[in-house]
Each structure stands twice: as structure tokens, then as C-alpha cells.
Assembly symmetry: C2
Homo-oligomer: 354 residues x 2
Amino acid sequence: MPHSFTPIASIGEFGLIDRIAEIVPDPLEDKRILCGIGDDAAVFRASPGRLQVMTTDTMIEGVHFDRALTPMAYLGGKSITVSVSDIVAMNARPALATIAIGIPRNMSVEMVEALYEGIGEACTTYGLKLVGGDTSSSHALYITITMIGEAADDSIIFRQGAREGDVLCVTGDLGGAYAGLQVLLDQRRAMDELGKEFEPDLEAHRRVIDQQLTPAARLDFLDVLSEMSIRPSSMIDISDGLASEVHHICSSSDKGATIRVTSLPIDPLTRAVADQFMDDVDTYVFYGGEDYELLFTVYLEEGERLVESGQVAIIGEILESSKGVQALSPDAGLIPLHPAGFDHFGDSFSENGV
Amino acid sequence: MPHSFTPIASIGEFGLIDRIAEIVPDPLEDKRILCGIGDDAAVFRASPGRLQVMTTDTMIEGVHFDRALTPMAYLGGKSITVSVSDIVAMNARPALATIAIGIPRNMSVEMVEALYEGIGEACTTYGLKLVGGDTSSSHALYITITMIGEAADDSIIFRQGAREGDVLCVTGDLGGAYAGLQVLLDQRRAMDELGKEFEPDLEAHRRVIDQQLTPAARLDFLDVLSEMSIRPSSMIDISDGLASEVHHICSSSDKGATIRVTSLPIDPLTRAVADQFMDDVDTYVFYGGEDYELLFTVYLEEGERLVESGQVAIIGEILESSKGVQALSPDAGLIPLHPAGFDHFGDSFSENGV
């Protein structure tokens, strides 16, 4: 055992990843590798004219989900969606996946079957083939998906590439997944208090609960871009929360940005949930995460065409890097937007322990 | 929650994998996929003339290893070796990998760095690039490696393909990893009993301990085969124990086999450890696993050339399927060889809990 013990929380998840990247051999030494750690997925040349992208994501019981709140089939589907979303964020299409799964003793064959029914359905939805896996017994349920996607040579879109004057656009509504999580946690608390007398009341909040439990990756939106001949200059999926993702695009592209808070696309039900819990709905959008929508940058004219077609919202502009990343709201004016998304190793650990 | 609860132990790991394979879409529907679940790695066509193989493996604290017995750098190296061994068993070369890691709160930054130093060294040894990963906090340490390997179109060797009259060959010595595990467990027991007064005595058993903690995948042996222009008709790596692997080759190839127990290559130190613990050394070889040597089938003449060059041992013959899989020993004569390798979900769970 080493003599010093530096807690991982003291350097955080991104600090740890930086340390790891310094230790292992630099993947870019291999000229076929176009991108290693630091984007939604790694990119490498499989053959002349064809690129592959590769991503891996894990969901762990008690860290990323609570089994009591998560039907197994939904969990299976969501675990596939998380990786498809990373592939889509590179403007690539999912092709193959492997699954490593750790199964605790209190899970039955029927539960594992339900999980794989969700996985199988998601594979069909996204045109993905499951080619292998590893099953182990474990202390808690965990699922690691590794996915390969494909793209033509010039179609990959990185986080870097945002241009000054571009508009920032998002697909879909934001903050809903986090609102759904709040509803589920509230029901869980009521269930714990009332025991058998508790009758869950989920129908009124069905839409945000679905956004939490059965999100969809926006593979469909790649067709929209392609049909409208629009190629974003940068793109990322919104998994950790909008604030974190805007910062990723800006730091990768060496740019700044302003986000107009009044332009954020938010479902009225998400607003209602935030009001019910006396939360600021903007924090759901900026820091909630798990929306699996796409954030991207395009020329203003392209953004306007996308808005007209009803496909996206323009939420801000790309500026020179010295401007930093700021949020503009009627109440507060222009204030710095902090990048804090969810950090598994930080103090937010137990808060996000569902 | 489903109404019935069938324990996973009642159908076993392979039973569970069969159920899963029935639920998810058949990968072979995609004509580019040559092999899905059921070999050491999946095989798919990346481009005309080039095949890729893909495998995923997990190591979980308390299931596959005991942190008290396993230096972090060794654990990192071994986790890479396990997957490289699967790639090599397909006659392919490792190219890229991703790592998903779950880190418990009692691990320090220094421990994670040591782990990745082992991973980095192994990447350099095998000519492999780490292109991505996922880090989470978790209850116990787990490491999932997913690896992509490459091969020319006609060079992949499957488990199926063994021909009647072929000889069964193995590289290296067998049973050493399990002997090393016994020594480590014994030292652990002594440490628990004696506390601080205990002085570990590992030097005398260094070779088998190394086979347990720092095994090497036989990437080097692919060059031997290539230089001698020998192409095995089937191949598999020995991860679960020789008995299990012989059964995999025989069932995939629809053949039977006889293994000559007197021909098993066993290091004298492995024999000495088995004697010390009053075990039958053959059970180490047949059921111990983790040797990461290669088991393959070739024509008798090819096997003899490999034996002459000092590279392998011939341990048996491939027969027609009706003969079953048997072991021939001077004491017991010809007796059925049971396939039981390690089953994570069976009763052997706690026995292998290191």
C-alpha cells in the first residue's frame, strides 16, 4: 500500500481522468487514432474512407440508479441509450455492442431476462447488434456497455470546432429527466413512510418519469441534419447537464459563450415539478443531466432554419474565449455559468445516489 | 417485480448466457458479423479483407480477486492480459481498448495511479492503445476491459474446426496460476492468524505466485505459428481450466477427445505446492484456470514439429463425437472428463472468492 492516501474526491472525476491520461501511452501515437480520451467517443480509422467510434459507459446500482425505482426492462433500454447517445453525438451510427454485467445474488433469472428484453428492444430500435459479453456475480448490479459506431470519413463531428458567431442549439426539452427523478424519489420517500398503505400516483407525472426512465437517444436527428444539409461545427450529448456540456464545447473549441436563460426549452410539466419542490427549474436544466438531447453549434442561418422546422431551440451564441461562459437572465443579468455537472467522486455523491 | 424467482445458481452461468442469447436479436442476421456470442471473441468484417474481433472481460473485487493479495499494478496488467488472451485465441492481434472502472471510496489516487501504471505497461507490451473509458464510484473495485483486435480475412481461428485425428496441444505449463493462488491464500490465512508477527515467505514460491498475479497472454506464440507456417484447426485460451476448454472445442467442433494425463505439462513447483496442500495436481490443471496459455488442434505432424522446437506439449487426440471427452491415466484408465470449470453463480462461488 502506498504511503500517501489522497482521496479521489479531492481531485474529482475530471482530475482523476487527467492523471490517468498522463500515465497510459498516448493513443494519438497511433496515426490511425484520430481522437482518444476527451470526446464523447474515441475515433479511429477502420479502413480508408470509413471511421469507427467507440464508447463505454457503466450504470451501477446505488450510484446511477435505484433498483426499487427502476423496472429492469427500462434499465436495460436506458443503458443502451446512454452509449448510443455518445455515438450519435459524434454524428456516427451505432453498429455493435458488448455488455459486461455483474449480477447480485438477490436477482432472479426472470429479472435478468426482463433486463435483456429491454436491451434487445433498444438494440432493435437503434439498429444495433449485441455481439458479446461477460457475466459475473457481483455485490451490486452493474452494467457496462461498450459500443462501436461507424461514420464516413468526413462526417465525424467533434466537441472542438465551434466558431465565433455560431449559435448554440439544443434538440428537445431539457430538465425533464431530473424532474422525473425528483418525482420518483418523492414517491420513494412516501413509500418508505407509509409502507403498504402507500399507493403510487405516477400518472400525472408520466411524461417526466418517462424522460428519467426511458430516455431516447437522438439518432433520428442525424437524419434531420442530413436532409437539411446542415453540418454542425461541434456537437455533444447532454448527459451531465447543459452547463457542463457548454463548457466542454467551449474549452475544446477555445471559445466563450452566452446562454440566454429565457430561451431554454422547458416542458411546462418540468416547470410544475420544480415549482412543487420549490426548486429553480433552470438548475434542473443546467445541472440535472440525463436528458440525452444534443447540444451543437451552427451558423445563425442554419439555426434559424432548424427552429423554423420545429426541430431545435437556439439558446445562445459562441463568443471569443476571453468572454468566458456566461448565462444571461432577466433577473440576474449576465453571470458566469459554473461548469459543475455531476461528479461521482465529489460531495454530490449521495445526492445523486439513485 | 416478477412473480417467480428462479435463482441464477439453479441454471448456472452458461444456462444464463443461453437464455440471454434467446432474448436479444441474433447478431448473425447482420452478414458482416461472422461470430457473435460463443467464442473467445466476436468477429466482424470492418472492411474487405480485414476482420475485427471484440471481447469484454470484467474483474470484480471479492469475486475475481482479493485486494489484500493483489498489488494494484499487477491487477492492472492482469486485467489487460485476460482480454489480450481472448484476442490471441482467435489468432488476431490486439489494437484498441476501453476501460470502465468502478472505484470504491477506500481507494486513493495513488492506488488508482498504480493500477493504471500496470495497465499502461501491459498496453506497451502488447502494442495496444487505450482510447477511452468510464470512471465511476462504486461499492467494490471492478474493471471492465473491452478490446478490439485485428486480423487478415482468412486468419481467424475459431473453437470449431477440430478434425478427427488432430492432436490437442498446449503452450506452456498448466496449473501454476491455481498453485500460486493456494500459496497466497495460505499466506493470507497465516497473516489473519498471526497479525503483525506474520512475515510473508513468498520467495520460494515466486514462480507460481507470478503465474497467478502477472500472467502473460501468448501473443508471442502467434509468431511461432506464423514462422512455422502452421495454422491450427481450432484454438481457445485456457482461462477457466483445461477440462472446460477441451469441452468447448469438442462441442463447437462436434468431436470427442482423449486427454493423456501423463502428458500434461506441469512445473515441478506446481506439483510441490499440490503435494504440500495434499491436493491432486491434475485438478489444478483441469479445473484451476487462469493459465492464459493456448489450447489448439493441429495435424499430428505439425504437433510433432512444434514439440521438437520446444514450444508445446501434445496432450491428447481429437476423436469422433460419440467417444465423448475422456481422460486417460495410469491409475484410473479411461474415465469421462467433466467439463466443470469455474461457475460464478454456482456453489463454487465462495471458494473462488479471491
